[in-house]
């Protein structure tokens, strides 16, 4: 009745290479980096004694959000030194997510595994490094693998579980969470866009008005993706903060 065929996965996730292996996703990632840097460089040019306006207002509100919404909630006052790291992580992920809903770009750069995996690997090195720096290698391993307050015999069971969950599963789930959320949103948008296109161009004239239904769904989901893009960046950063906080200040 209607010519509806889902394109191969590479057609919706991969564009033709611009040069070498440089494609649209690399372009979006580089643009995200440059936009984030530009905002903060422009903001730093302003006179800090007067009331903030324009770009500086934006920059200060993001710093405030990270300080009060992420660091203070998870690490407390002495974690405030981590604000720059978490802020740049948040901005980069958010600016990579947002192109998923910008018309004509329509591709979240984090919907390919490479970017989330690299970010998760970086976070893995940072929180393990921070833990080793603060407690020494032995002390860190002891606090991770041998949590206090457990009967001695249970360590046979607890230690392998803790090792798997803290060292192996954490970066994996961090990467997969961001990647799969953005990919799922992208595929959902593609599905509804294809469905409404197929209905609008159907040979049966009677089907054409029904195209408005998937189209409304498409608009609604685009609005939903605005929320998801922010929420995933927030969750990534808040989990990073929790991991760093746990590595630096172990429970006693």
């Amino acid at each position: 009745m209607i010519a509806l065929e889902f394109p191969p996965i590479n057609a919706i996730l991969r564009w033709k290479e611009l040069f070498g292996s440089f494609n649209k996703i690399s372009l979006i990632a580089i643009a995200a980096m440059l936009i984030g840097m530009t905002i903060f460089l422009l903001a730093s040019k302003q006179d800090h004694r007067t009331a903030p306006r324009g770009v500086r207002n934006l920059a200060e509100s993001t710093v405030d959000f990270i300080e009060n919404g992420v660091v203070m909630q998870t690490m407390g006052r002495d974690g405030l030194g981590w604000t720059p790291f978490l802020l740049s992580l948040f901005l980069f992920i958010y600016l990579c997510n947002v192109p998923g809903i910008i018309p004509f770009l329509q591709m979240p750069a984090t919907a390919r595994m490479a970017l989330p995996a690299a970010l998760a690997l970086m976070v893995w090195f940072v929180y393990n490094g921070a833990g080793i720096k603060h407690q020494g290698f032995g002390g860190y391993m002891k606090s991770v693998l041998f949590p206090p307050g457990v009967p001695k015999a249970l360590y046979i069971l607890i230690t392998p579980i803790e090792f798997i969950s803290a060292i192996i599963v954490r970066p994996f789930s961090l990467a997969v969470r961001l990647f799969a959320n953005m990919l799922a949103g992208h595929i959902l948008l593609v599905t509804f866009a294809l469905l409404s296109e197929a209905l609008f161009q159907a040979k049966d004239k009677i089907l054409i008005p029904f195209g408005i239904l998937p189209f409304f769904m498409l608009v609604f989901l685009t609005g939903f993706e605005v929320l998801v893009a922010f929420l995933q960046a927030y969750i990534f950063v808040i989990l990073t903060a929790v991991y760093i906080g746990g590595a630096v200040h172990p429970e006693h």
Binding site: I9, Q73, R177, A180, L183, I235, I238, L239, V242
Partner: protein, 94 residues
């Protein structure tokens, strides 16, 4: 589970070529993989958010802290559903 295996086997029988049969079976089971993966996390997130709203309504001054913890809990619960989604993608396309 037996019914599920039967459906997949029937789908595979319909295709003659072995490679084709494998693809058909994978495509058939991909939907079930994702469908089953949503059940637990769906219940879990519903329960989690419901309890958080209850806590926020009882003690509005602790809303900020409850919200942060709620998002953390959602992130951990949701991971299972997302791994199910990744399995779906792998079965369907890889």
């Amino acid at each position: 589970m037996e019914a599920l295996a039967k459906i997949v086997a029937k789908a595979a029988e319909a295709a003659v070529d072995p490679a084709d049969a494998k693809n058909t079976a994978a495509a058939g089971s991909a939907g079930y993989a994702y469908g089953l993966a949503t059940l637990g996390p769906g219940l879990g997130i519903g329960f989690l958010v419901g309890k958080s709203v209850e806590a926020m309504a009882r003690q509005p001054e602790a809303a900020g802290m409850v919200r942060t913890t709620m998002f953390l809990g959602i992130a951990f619960t949701e991971a299972l559903a997302l791994i199910g989604f990744v399995v779906f993608i792998l079965l369907k396309f890889a």
